[in-house]
């Protein structure tokens, strides 16, 4: 079960209906910070910090796979830094290497936010898969730029 992370994914599930096989089994996970509001439905909310909300109510056997946005952002930054590093150590003149880095990375500066809300209610055996395609595309292309740079410098 996901613990508190920095992407804004909000999951809420009805604790009364957590298992198709054993309806009386209660949900128990010691690895996350759950806020349990005081209402009759006993909804368990795990809060993370990305712009995605998935509400699961009166359902069972629901599988959720989602993009870890924070990890994706960290990975994107790591690749950008690697590009800047390679440029910096191969081009002595700092003015030139700033310009090269700017030109290479200018295509990846735009920020896009995806907000979505998914409601699963009275359902069984459902799989939810969400993907942040914008950041995935950025990461792929940035890696290709790094690989191309390294190949052209005869490093790879």
């Amino acid at each position: 079960m996901a613990s508190r992370r920095k992407s804004n994914n909000r999951f809420s599930r009805n604790l009364e209906e957590t298992s198709c096989e054993s309806p009386e089994q209660t949900y128990n996970d010691n690895n996350h910070d759950a806020e349990v509001p005081q209402d009759a439905d006993q909804v368990d909310i795990m809060e993370q910090e990305s712009d995605e909300m998935i509400i699961i109510k009166d359902s069972c056997n629901i599988e959720v796979q989602s993009t870890d946005t924070q990890a994706a952002v960290s990975l994107q930054i790591a690749i950008q830094l690697a590009i800047a590093l390679v440029i910096r150590i191969t081009i002595a003149d700092s003015e030139d290497n700033n310009a090269v880095v700017q030109d290479l990375l200018q295509f990846f500066d735009s920020e896009q936010k995806n907000k979505q809300k998914i409601l699963i209610e009275n359902s069984k055996d459902v799989t939810i898969t969400t993907t942040d395609t914008d950041i995935s595309a950025n990461i792929q292309v940035l890696l290709e730029v790094l690989l191309s740079l390294v190949a052209q410098l005869d490093i790879g």
Binding site: M1, R13, I56, N61, E63, V64, Q65, I89, I139, V145
Partner: protein
Amino acid sequence: MQMNDSSNISNKMIDLLVNDILRKNGVNLESAKGKLSEEQKQQIKELVGDLTKQVNQFLYPAKDNQNNKGK
């Protein structure tokens, strides 16, 4: 086959883009190649290898890593 074709095309486009940016900024590739020691090259290769592995893990995760199942 189509995926490989479009992947090849985008790789070629990126090669052209990188090459053009380097030339536009007056970077001499031959002298840039000579600036790196063998140790630096090896370190960069390892760094790029690690990043490639992380990107593949991110883009094509094993099912177990990102499952959240209500039990």
